[in-house]
Amino acid sequence: MMGTQTPQIHQFLPVLDEGDAIGNEAKAIQRLLRGAGYVSEIFAWRAGKGQGRSCRHYSRHRALRAPENVMLYHFSVCCPITAYFAGAPDRKMIVYHNITPARFFAGLDEQVYYITKKGRRELAQLANVVECALAVSDYNAGELRDAGYGRVETVPLVVDYDAFDATPDETVLGRYDDGWTNLLFVGRLSPNKKQEDLIRIFYHYKRINPRSRLFLVGSARQVPRYREVLDELVRRLKLSDVVITGGVSHRALVAYYKLASAFVCMSEHEGFCVPLIEAMRFDLPVVAYDSSAVAETLDGTGVLVREKRHAEIAELIHGIMEDDGLRGELVEKQRRRVAYYGYASTSTRFMEAIGSFVQARG
């Protein structure tokens, strides 16, 4: 245990939600910090359902403000916390999770368009306020440097992937465990994630393999109009067996991973893409479009698609599904990537970064 001079390290994030990558990381970091003897709380602008006990409203941090303490802000969207963070006397650090470029939301959601645009402005404003910025990928680190940040370090997301050892939801398993080929994508329904391309690929794949299904797992709350576009696309293509689940519980998510035969990602903007690692952990062959941080996260594993040729991608998936040897070769290499992002390795790297930050002032 550390002495009485140990600074307190508190985390801030816009919303603490169940199943959210940033929320999960904040909880994992809190466990690490407390384990190392730091006093550490999570402060949020809003608490999601059932998360009220895991965090406090950020205004309640006021009593804990002190120049020797550290504020660690998970930055991903504009939020009233930014102004509070900038004005506090504490030492400051951000973890940058990336902001989806506003252009993706044009024509679909004016509010999200504006919020993401404002988020980029807030990010630039914080450049002179924070002492150090952590990026969860080199791609994000590049964006921070472009925004004017001086001290930037890349530290992968601290995620305890062992949480996926949880018992899968029996109802989901019971409904779909029938030997069909299930293509899966996990991520909120959002225009940057391009679920529309997955539906178009599945349109072709269904012709190759009629005993197949597409699971699109993820909340549609952020951009409801995009969900409408996807539903209409499915209708116009007269496609059956496209399952758009909406937000699901952790156990249901585990069930979808267990039911899946392959993970397909056509996203055009990812700051890291945690589901790629989750899918690898379930030994699913990954086929992903080469954009933003996707290639960096895969690092030569899985299959990286450079062009969105839907019919050919469907054939590619079919080729992988039909060839056990090929699938085995892909999965074997993916396991090494999962080990690289394992909790032991990422938590050590995170604590080293925190340790050097705390000691930097002497």
Partner: protein, 132 residues
Amino acid sequence: MSFFDADIDAQRKAELEAAIAKGASERRADGADPTSEERRKIGDLLEYNRREFEDITYDLYNARKFVRMFPDEAEGYGGLLGWAKRFYRRVVRRLLRQQIVFNEAVLGVLEDLDERAKKLKGEEGRREPEQK
């Protein structure tokens, strides 16, 4: 050049590429070309990002109409029971918060349009002497 990268045996990759090309061409030759059929069906549905914010005023109108369902002044709650007053006030507070976020969004978009207009003006200004 292949449209995908995978760290797999070169022979296996070549076979896979050949199978993909054969499969795709066979399916196209199978009567209907799935690509043109697909294009016909989805039409302009996926052109959503070309839309501008033409319906902002409509959304704003709706938001205001919704807020006005409830009285603005304290006297407006005169004849209501205590629980109903508290309920309406809570709803009004929530709607007003949404209205504030919405207003900010509209202002943000207007700022962007301004910026875009300035940029276009600048470009036009630069182009003019060349045309002469």
